[in-house]
Symmetry: none
DNA sequence: CATGAATGAGCCTTCATTCAT
DNA sequence: AATGAATGAAGGCTCATTCAT
């Protein structure tokens, strides 16, 4: 169930709008509700009815991805190796950020347009916090790394990958490389600071 | 000497425009030449005469910062400890990025509006490459870290700090903390990859 | 039917815009969409929606006139006297040019903004070509007059009338006088050249 | 003597400005005093000092051409064959119009920026009137052709040639062809009007 | 519910002209 | 006399949003 319940045709429009928006985001075009409407062959107001703001639409595009990541978070929490669990979780996030261009801006935004987004981001943060705490309890993580650093750092990697550029395939490789470095830095206790 | 040589009154305007632009950049406002003109109490065309595009103005704002970094790069190259030199250089860059909001977008841009910017970015990249090569020669750096990763990674840290937020003072602390982590990850050879 | 089919209010605006534009053209003012919008009491974008460029609006103003001329061209082709048919056709064109100021620039333009304009101009050119060919077949026309000369010559007469000036009524007289002269020159075979 | 008397350097600037303007006119660019100044490597105000308006500059560019035509007018008046004299005079004018793009707008303008222009245009008109009168006295010209028609008709031919287009060489040919037609029409008495 | 026409603020940019140096 | 920086009105165009149909 996406929203409370939509009439069949309304649901079709909703899907269409989101699909178009996903394409636009993928090709790096800024979301403009007017533009989306035109491409979807719908009236502007129809799009506005479904999504009051471009942010709402963007978050809707990002939602499945966030949901997947939440699920991965739960799986990771079931992992008996805390460090491996954290690694795996962050790896999923970084790959998702590079794969789905809607994720980064939504993750970085201070405020959300949709309650659902807030909910998912909270859930994700909670998973991250727990995974980090568990890893820290084993002494595997430097003590000055806080749960509130995880999202910024993941966004930072995504941004670094964007600045580095390259094909989609190479970007994923770059992302993993950068994450590997960061994980090394997260693990080792600071030697002299 | 800022440009070849300006008349006294023109130089005053030039300074004023750049000062206003610096303020705008600092407060996160996108540079709009008309807006700058209004705030500077100058005619639009005056601003256009001095800076043909917002990018040119932005780069001008970033120029002193880039020049400082170039100087630091030269100093670092004189350092006899390759690892310390690299550390120090990157530390300066990260701090500059957090301190001067004009730097990040200019660093991340694929093309430059001003020749001077290109020159400085090249010089900076060259210093980075040399410092990295020297450090790598001592075996202190993981082999899969390329010179072309330095700028993206520094931009990534700056972005992570922005996402993390906080006061200006705390942001600098955060930046150094993130860099410390990254340096750890850059130093240690990859264990099993 | 002006376009495919417009909503009633949109059609009213469309008419209004064209009417204003016609007035402006008549008084010799260059068409500026912003200006048209202001005079029509409409938002700028409304005018832009209807007419993407000043040329499109100008051609729209000229369209009825072009359509009339096409119709006249067909009538002329039904005339059994080839010379009289040509004379009558050119006479209509010249009079139209002097009467409707939108016609001359549209006729002289190398490229068209609207497909409809291209279509009408082609149709007109085709009629002219046929009429000229028929007249030439009777030996009534000097051989060095090509179909591609007709439009330029008509535009030339219109321009000559504009340079000559005078009241609207006298301009029509002048136009016919100039055309009469030209027709004499077109008819008579060149004696010694 | 171009103006009352200029200092040597001022005269050099004057020449330079006019030369640049002539080039611009030839390539169909609208005269903009600022633009002229930039291309001439002179200050804007220098150009303004010499030529208060673009029209004044344009007329200055056209002046030699007008002077030549005046001279030709005088020569033509010395011709013992009135019709041939008129023909030759108009031929010169038409060729000049096609050759020198500055001439047509100056000839067509209702008012002049420079007294010298007015003077030359008057002289030219006077020559035309006399030549026409002389030809009319021999009965070679249709009676409804007035002296006030000559300039408009020459401008009309120039305009027709412009609409027709083509290379510079072909344009001259076209111009003479159109003039030949018009002369035929001017000569032959109207048969039935 | 859906439509898409209308809006108008707001940005960018150019140009003729003036005036301090 | 020459310079060229400064001006600011004016035009071009876009876009998010509303509202009548």
């Amino acid at each position: 169930m996406t929203t409370t319940q939509l009439r069949k045709d309304a649901a079709r429009n909703w899907d269409r709008i989101v699909a178009i928006a996903r394409d636009l985001v993928a090709e790096g075009t800024a979301l403009q509700l007017n533009d989306v409407a035109r491409r979807a062959g719908l009236g502007v107001a129809t799009v506005y009815r479904h999504f009051a703001t471009p942010e709402a639409l963007l978050e809707t595009v990002a939602t499945p991805c966030l949901e997947d990541l939440c699920a991965h978070g739960q799986h990771a929490l079931a992992d008996s190796d805390p460090w491996h669990a954290l690694e795996s979780f962050l790896s999923q996030i970084v790959e998702a950020q590079v794969t789905d261009a809607a994720l980064a801006p939504v993750a970085a935004a201070a405020t959300d347009a949709l309650p659902r987004t807030t909910e998912l981001k909270k859930s994700l943060a909670s998973a991250g916090t727990q995974l980090l705490d568990r890893a820290r309890d084993t002494g595997a993580v430097r003590p000055d790394l806080a749960a509130s650093d995880l999202v910024p750092l993941m966004c930072g990697i995504a941004h670094a990958v964007n600045v580095h550029g390259g094909t989609q395939a190479s970007r994923i490789g770059t992302a993993h490389r950068y994450l590997a470095m960061l994980l090394e830095g997260m693990r080792t206790a600071p030697p002299n600071a």
